[in-house]
């Protein structure tokens, strides 16, 4: 996976929604709820699995197909929220990682999963 062609995906998704006249339901508030519901469907896949078994998605075609569907749903809603909010995902991620580099200095954070407020 080298890039995601957001322009193409957004055009396909927007067309799907327009045909069904569903944009009337898509306030950003409602989209954030839908995003969290889809995310939980991903969590549901892993809730009773051991950590090591969760790492096996790649080699388990049935499990992978489920994960693929949920990742797609999550990305669709995330893209839609980003576009409606005027947010550019690529540049936002780059700034966020810069911020996080300051919040979690290597020497304090190394090998340590505590929240920055606890560091």
């Amino acid at each position: 996976m080298k890039t995601i062609d957001v322009e193409k995906l957004n055009s396909v998704v927007s067309n799907f929604i327009e045909e069904r006249d569903w944009d009337q339901f898509h306030s950003i508030k409602n989209l954030s709820m839908a995003l969290s519901v889809e995310t939980s469907e991903l969590v549901e896949i892993f809730q009773w699995l051991k950590e090591e078994d969760s790492n096996n998605v790649k080699n388990d075609p049935k499990l992978k197909a489920k994960v693929e569907e949920e990742i797609s749903d999550i990305f669709i809603y995330l893209m839609r929220i980003a576009i409606k909010s005027g947010v550019d995902i690529e540049s936002s991620v780059l700034s966020k990682i810069e911020k996080n580099s300051e919040k979690y200095p290597v020497e304090k954070a190394r090998g340590n999963a505590r929240k920055y407020t606890d560091l």
Copy 2:
């Protein structure tokens, strides 16, 4: 936002994680939990807002900055789960929309937000 350069973002994020030796915590199971936590931080922004006010993110710099941060965190975990699962986001979204087009036929779904099991 035309494309997302996943290869670049993944390299920046992987480097950030490696420097901190955090990959030991990043089973797909744990990443799905972290994704849901970040999604809820987006939901939290909108929980007491009216739908129409949620649609104003674009024009409210303070609100937009918060949304930008949460979208970034969500995308980072989503990308990481996708890569560890061997999932290509762009092609998965395209297949998902095709599937959804069958599950939600235009004539039944038009203007109607009910779940396909209720259609």
Copy 3:
């Protein structure tokens, strides 16, 4: 609803789980995931509804039946986490409300849904 007989519910639930030998899956970590999945099933009911329509659950038997099921699932997991964690819900809620009364002083919080960090 005056009280909840936790002792009785826990005995019924524990018996259900023991018969199926499911406690092996119920680490507190996994139970927290299951709790969040069930909560999202409640959110799903309301994601496309207007706020005023969500307030109509009481008078809509079909909607109420769905809400009832999700509330039950949420309570079951919450109770199980509390018991495994040695937490007494009633006394914890009372201390939490006391804390919140300090975090959100009436004069600052009145009619204002902002987070205490923003007050």
Copy 4:
């Protein structure tokens, strides 16, 4: 924990909300969002912990105090949604367990965490 005195807790919580004039924000839709946000704060505590460490809450006072706060917040919103929806938690849980006993027959479900649709 033998019982939860919902009548007492509801009176304390309602009073807290009334003093702050916050009921205007508490549509059932919004309360379901708030409930999911609080649930994620519980998930956050466990996201990087090993399953066996998550089972140690009882013996770790600092961890237990955090869990206690999140359980309280979750219960407060759950109780509020139940009361606004006319749902009696105790009797709903009892019916749900009866339903689940049919959905998950002991002989098929024993030692098996698959969803009933997969049994």
